[in-house]
Structures are given as structure tokens and as C-alpha cells.
């Protein structure tokens, strides 16, 4: 089976491919090209005709375009490597390659990835017998074989480099080995934990939305029912448990009826674990925990598609514990418009920027996010602080401070490396 050479980047693709695996260029209409068959054609597209009486090889090459010469290797030129050597080389191994990937011309998903047509880079005047609208057809009298054409297209797709620019005499060779980066960030995260550092603590900022979430839950009656979407699992429980615990503690203290569902297979077990921990805590809230036990968390198979079914159940409030903003957005789109229940979100700090506009627009009535949100909500609960809980919050803040410091240091180091090494100094 012959590979299909991409007319844009020259990458080899399986025969029958609609789009290039590397650059996404449209390959429909291209024919296969053996590596040995270079001359005269580019991916099945006929080359511009040579002027009469002049052989293609005798076409003069412009002196200011050295990259058109055979064998030219530019400074920035990186030889293209085959992504899959076994498909580049047409080795007859006795097995029909066509059986590897059956290509059905009318298959269902053939057009999906091509929803947006890839931008075709302007190549040679008169290519394919077409010229740009409003432009007269230009004949350069130049004939390029596939290899040269590929090289020219590659150069055109890259950032322009001044031909007169001399290579910098300063060659950056002191690149930072990536494992050093890993080591630095690992130490920044691990040291505060193992050494139990207690500073720098900083100030936990009380973001808008925390107080509103607290007030909404605080006004619930014991007869109200609350829907809870548990959209995180142990992967993100390190942060989310801290955020969910005070909110869950408050909900249980209100004595409301809860319905807990999760779209994640490990979601119910995560919810069960946190609720067990919260129920086991000493009852220091204003009122005692209600005796009513929460409903057993359920796993809903089917993903987001089944979320609208929850919108058919009335509720006084919906609480979404989510690691990602998309889960809150899915609830706001699929469930909230149906049962009109106000929504409170308790999320990780990473989801906060994406969800804050929903708070400002009123689609969310409350937003508790990150360690800051957890600390603020705990303060609002007016629980008598325990030494253990204070130390826990302090450890989180110290860890967050040092990790962010390490990230800032890495960013500065990366920029310094680029400054010293120039554009191509990647460190």
C-alpha cells in the first residue's frame, strides 16, 4: 500500500486518509506517492508545465532562493522524520496493508474532523491549474519536484527569518535539564509537607459568592430537599474534600433531605467517605446534626446525557461539588432550567475563573472554591475552631504559597533561558 504524501508538510499518511495526520491538510483528491517517485508530481497534483523547448531540469534557479537547489539544508531545517516508519516504507511483508484500516468512502464519521476545512497555504502560482481571483496567471518557468515543493511549503509555513541575519555568536548551551524542573517542583510541594512548615501563611481571601452560598444553605428548612451532584473522585479529593466538607457539614446540620448522584464510577464511594468523616466529627455546630441520614449516593451511568432526568425532580437547592467547571456548566445547562432550583457550586480553585461569570450573571447563587473558599466557609459556620482544623488549613495555605512561588521561579527561569539563548533557546 503506498503512503499518501501530504502536499502541505510532506508527511506520509496512510492511503485513503482524508486529512494529514501532522498538519490537518485536506488530502482528499490526492493520489498516493512512492518515496522513489519524486519527480514531477506532488501528491498527484500535476506540476506546472515547463516552457516549450526547455527541459524541466534546465530551468534556472533564482540565486536569491538557495532553498530551491537540490540538497539545500537550511539552518533551521529539521529533517522530517516519519511518524510511523512502517507506513512510510512500502515493504512488502506479504500482508495486505489495505486490511489494516478499512476505508469506507461513505463512513459515518468521515466528515466530522473536516468540519472546518484546514487553511491551505498558498503554494505556487498556477498550482492545480487555479490562480487566485483577480490575479493573472503567472508562469515562472520553474519546475519543482515533490521534494523541493515540500521544502518550499515548509519554509512558507514557518516564521520568516531574515536572509541577511547572521547567526548569533552567543550559542546557548546551558539548557536546563527538564528533570531539574521536576525536582524543583517536587521539592517545593514535598518539603512543606514533610517539614511541617508553618509559614508563609498569607491571608485566605474571602471571595464573593462564599457568603451567598452560606446564606442560601442557612435558609433551608428541614423539609426541603437538596440535589447534590458529586462530580469529583479520589484523583482530586485532596483539594475538593476540603471544600466539600464545610458545605456538607452545613447541609447535614440543616437536616434537609439530600439526593446525591454522581456520573463518576468512584463518585459515590468518595461521597460516602466524606459524609462518614463529617458525621463522625464532634457535634460543635450551632445545632446538632439532624438524625436524618442522607440518601445513599447513586452512580448514574450514561454521562451528561442522563443529567436532564434530574431536572424532572423538584428541589429547593442544587449543590454541585465539582473538580472541573464543565460539570457545573452541564448542570446549569441541562438541569437548572428544568426544575428552576438555585445552584451552589463548590469547586477547585482551577475552576473558579471559568465559573465566576456564572455567579455574576445569577445562574449560580453561590460559589465556594479552593482552599480560600473552604477557609472562608468554615469561618462563616462559626464553629469553635479546633487545633487540628486550624493546622490543616494552615498546612494547605503554606503548601499553596510555596508551590506558587516555585511556579513563579520556573516562569522567570524559563524567560531568562529564552533571553540568553535567543528565540531557539528552549532550555
Amino acid at each position: 500500500m503506498n503512503p499518501l504524501a501530504c502536499p502541505h508538510c510532506g508527511a506520509a499518511n496512510r492511503s485513503g486518509s482524508n486529512f494529514c495526520n501532522r498538519c490537518g491538510a485536506d488530502l482528499r483528491g490526492e493520489s498516493t506517492l512512492r518515496p522513489a517517485e519524486g519527480g514531477g508530481q506532488s501528491g498527484g497534483r500535476p506540476a506546472p508545465a515547463a516552457p516549450q523547448g526547455q527541459p524541466p531540469s534546465a530551468a534556472p534557479l533564482p540565486p536569491d532562493q538557495p532553498w530551491l537547489r537540490p540538497g539545500f539544508v537550511g539552518e533551521d531545517d529539521v529533517p522530517l522524520e516519519p511518524e510511523e516508519p512502517d507506513i512510510l516504507l512500502d515493504v512488502d511483508d506479504g500482508v495486505d496493508d489495505a486490511t489494516d484500516i478499512p476505508v469506507a468512502p461513505g463512513r459515518l464519521v468521515s466528515g466530522v474532523q473536516g468540519l472546518l476545512e484546514p487553511i491551505r497555504v498558498a503554494t505556487m502560482p498556477g498550482e492545480g491549474g487555479q490562480s487566485l481571483p483577480g490575479m493573472a496567471s503567472v508562469s515562472t518557468g520553474l519546475v519543482l519536484d515533490a521534494e523541493h515543493l515540500r521544502r518550499v511549503r515548509g519554509l512558507m509555513a514557518e516564521e520568516p527569518v531574515l536572509a541577511a541575519a547572521q547567526p548569533s555568536p552567543v550559542r546557548y548551551t546551558g539548557s536546563l535539564w527538564l528533570p531539574w524542573v521536576f525536582l524543583a517542583i517536587g521539592l517545593a510541594v514535598a518539603l512543606p509537607v514533610f517539614w511541617q512548615l508553618n509559614r508563609p501563611v498569607g491571608v485566605a481571601r474571602q471571595w464573593p459568592g462564599v457568603a451567598a452560598a452560606f446564606d442560601t444553605i442557612d435558609h433551608l428548612q428541614a423539609t426541603d430537599s437538596v440535589q447534590i451532584l458529586w462530580a469529583y473522585d479520589p484523583a482530586t479529593a485532596g483539594e475538593l474534600d476540603l471544600v466539600a466538607a464545610p458545605v456538607m457539614r452545613h447541609l447535614l446540620a440543616q437536616g434537609v433531605t439530600t439526593t446525591i448522584v454522581s456520573l463518576l464510577p468512584n463518585g459515590p464511594a468518595t461521597a460516602r467517605r466524606l459524609i462518614t468523616q463529617v458525621q463522625a466529627e464532634p457535634r460543635r455546630l450551632r445545632g446538632a446534626f439532624a438524625e436524618r441520614a442522607p440518601v445513599e449516593p447513586r452512580f448514574l451511568p450514561g454521562g451528561v446525557m442522563v443529567l436532564p432526568s434530574l431536572g424532572q425532580e423538584p428541589a429547593a437547592l442544587a449543590v454541585v461539588f465539582a473538580a472541573q467547571a464543565e460539570d457545573v456548566q452541564a448542570w446549569l445547562e441541562q438541569v437548572a432550567p428544568r426544575n428552576q432550583a438555585p445552584v451552589v457550586a463548590a469547586t477547585g480553585a482551577g475552576a473558579d475563573p471559568l465559573l465566576r461569570p456564572y455567579l455574576d450573571s445569577g445562574q449560580l447563587v453561590g460559589l465556594v472554591s479552593g482552599f480560600d473558599g473552604a477557609a472562608s466557609y468554615t469561618t462563616l459556620l462559626r464553629e469553635p475552631p479546633t487545633i487540628e482544623r486550624e493546622q490543616q488549613v494552615q498546612r494547605q495555605l503554606v503548601g499553596q504559597n510555596i508551590a506558587l512561588l516555585a511556579f513563579l521561579a520556573l516562569i522567570v527561569a524559563g524567560n531568562l533561558a529564552a533571553l540568553v539563548g535567543g528565540r531557539r533557546g528552549n532550555g
Binding site: 491571608v203 460516602r272 448514574l300 473558579d352 506558587l404 532550555g427
Partner: protein, 187 residues
Amino acid sequence: MVLIVDRTGILPALKPVMANFYQGLMLLGGVALLLGVVNAAWLHGRRIQTGQRDWVLSIVLLAVLLAVFVAGVISPQGATSPSMTWVFESVVAPGQAALFALLVFFMAAAAYRFLRIGRPGGAWMLAGALAVFLVQWPLAGAWLPVSIVDSTFWLVNQPVMAAVRGLLLGSGIAMLIVGLRLLLGKA
């Protein structure tokens, strides 16, 4: 089409129909999950049978699959049984947390390599990242001017969210068109 009509709310009589529809959907999801498990077991059984590379790992996978399955089935408490709870607490939770924790190394490498002023668009990305870093940094909470916090909020709430919603709207319309084309056989 039934879904679309139901979403418009013009036919309240569709509610019970849709309730059944969603129940069926959940059932399908559960069956799909089971089929996935059976498929994985069959594939790894074949690997062991034919002695393919790393077939020992396939044995481990099947043994663990069988152990967890039996632990869940034989106990009357099902998924809340002590054995299942132990599996979750001692194996699943630490494993998932450890794997997710590796993300910090990728983020560090990305921050080092790509948040650079000289890269195309890098200055914008760097400015955005620094703004969010500073605003969410507890250490900066004491001295960061409120105006910077408000400016970051404004950036996120107005231009950034406008762009995000524009993208969502565009992709939503595109998906709608693709769906219609599929339904009409034009794809």
C-alpha cells in the same frame, strides 16, 4: 426530535415519555459499562492465551478484576461492603490521587517552556497566568491592591468569558448542523 421538542417545553405530556427515555438511557449506559468490562476481560484473556507481550500483566488485571467483582457480588451490602470499602480506600483512592499528582510536573514543565514572552502569543498567556496566580495567591492577599483583583475579575468576566461563550456558541451551532446533516443523510 423528541428531545428537542421536550427541551422547548411546549408539550408537557412528553414528560413521562422522557422519564422512561432517560431510564432507558441509564440502562444502556450500565450495559455499555458491563460490555466494556467483558470486552477488556476477553481481550486480555486472548493475550494470555496467545502469549503476547506483557501477558503476565494481563493475568494481574484479570485476577484483580475477578477479586473486586467477587468481593462486590458475594457481600449483601454490595458496593458498601467492608471489602469493597477497603479496596477503595487502600487501592483506588491512593492510586488515583498519586496519578493525578503527577500533573504538577507536566504543569511545571509547561510553565517553564511555554510561558515565555518571546513565543507567539506567549506574552498574553504569561500576563493572564500571572494575573490569576497573583489573585489566587494567599501570600499576595495582604498586599495586592484591590484594583488588580478587580481588574482580573473584569478581564475574566468580560472579554475572556465573551470569547469562551462565543466559542461555545459556535461549536454548539456546528454540532447542531452536523447532527442535522447526519439525520438528513447529508453527512
